[in-house]
Amino acid sequence: MNGIHDLGGRHGIGPIVREENEPVFHAEWERRAFAMFAGTFVFAGYSVDEFRHAIENIDPAHYLESSYYEHWLHAFEDILVKRGFITREEYDARIAKLVKNGGNDVVDA
């Protein structure tokens, strides 16, 4: 698909912004999201091609505004729901619960 991800040669996207002494990760959630690639790949058995395609389906405006690991997160959600490892309902409920509790670890079994 020739979506927003197909960026080669596009004009008007702006200057390249660099960060001096950039850390490998910018937040704790990025560490977890990064590691979930191998973690989910092993049990869900998806291909890197399927993973990339899930990223290509992100809303195009949001694609440009969101970070790399948010793209990954979107792909995990998309693939794991599609393959039945999680349901959208239980996921949304868990997010709501975490938000209510200030985003802290409030998982009670």
Binding site: L7, F34, M36, H62, E77, D105
Partner: protein, 206 residues
């Protein structure tokens, strides 16, 4: 057919926490395995690996020959292999040719030798412009090349991963292999800088 595009959702930190906690509860994910992965890519794998490959190629012509003909095997000789470096290609800068690597479609990058990519490499502006305006991009990184030099851009669209072998700086004959490795920057192995040039934020030692 492609699915309908999905809408942006809540804070990625909360979503990540929610996803991890559900998967852990279901017994699909071991959080300690995630810790171990983070440790590898935050502390053990990084551009120092690539720098060792480059320095070895500079001091050992036989190694360089192997590196340019079968990069995956030659890099593995130094102990670097695996995820996002399964099939490596090393391209050599010369006085006639300057190589520059980009992934316009996503953010493919050789993890075993360079670690995880910096944000700018994954950003839309770099991906958009590196293929159509490489000299402009190089200039932003403080790299100005003669018009006589061919700029050769590698758009890494498939499963090959590319590492640039920069030119060895002048007057380094007396340096040891380790000292040479210390001169090699991440950005020079992506190809946005040369080791003769002084880019303001090219250093990436960690």
């Amino acid at each position: 057919m492609s699915k309908p595009v999905s809408k942006p959702e809540s804070d990625p930190a909360v979503r990540t926490r929610a996803l991890e906690s559900i998967l852990v509860e279901k017994g699909l994910l071991d959080p300690k395995a995630l810790d171990a992965l983070v440790d590898i890519y935050e502390h053990k794998v990084g551009p120092r690996n690539g720098a060792k490959v480059v320095a070895r190629a500079w001091v050992d012509p036989e190694y360089k020959k192997r590196l340019l003909s079968d990069a995956t095997t030659a890099i593995k000789e130094l102990g670097f292999s695996g995820l996002q470096g399964e099939d490596m290609v090393v391209v050599e800068n010369t006085p006639e040719v300057h190589n520059l690597v980009v992934c316009t479609l996503c953010s493919c990058y050789p993890w075993p030798t360079l670690g995880l990519p910096p944000v700018w490499y994954k950003s839309a502006p770099y991906r958009a412009r590196a293929v159509s305006d490489p000299r402009g991009v190089l200039k932003e990184f403080g790299t100005t090349l003669s018009e006589n030099v061919e700029v050769r851009v590698w758009d890494t669209t498939a499963e090959l991963r590319y590492l640039v072998l920069p030119e060895r700086p002048a007057d380094t004959e007396n340096l040891t292999e380790q000292q040479l490795a210390d001169l090699v920057t991440r950005d020079s192995m992506i190809g946005v800088t040369t080791l003769g040039s002084s880019a303001p934020t090219s250093a990436s030692k960690h």
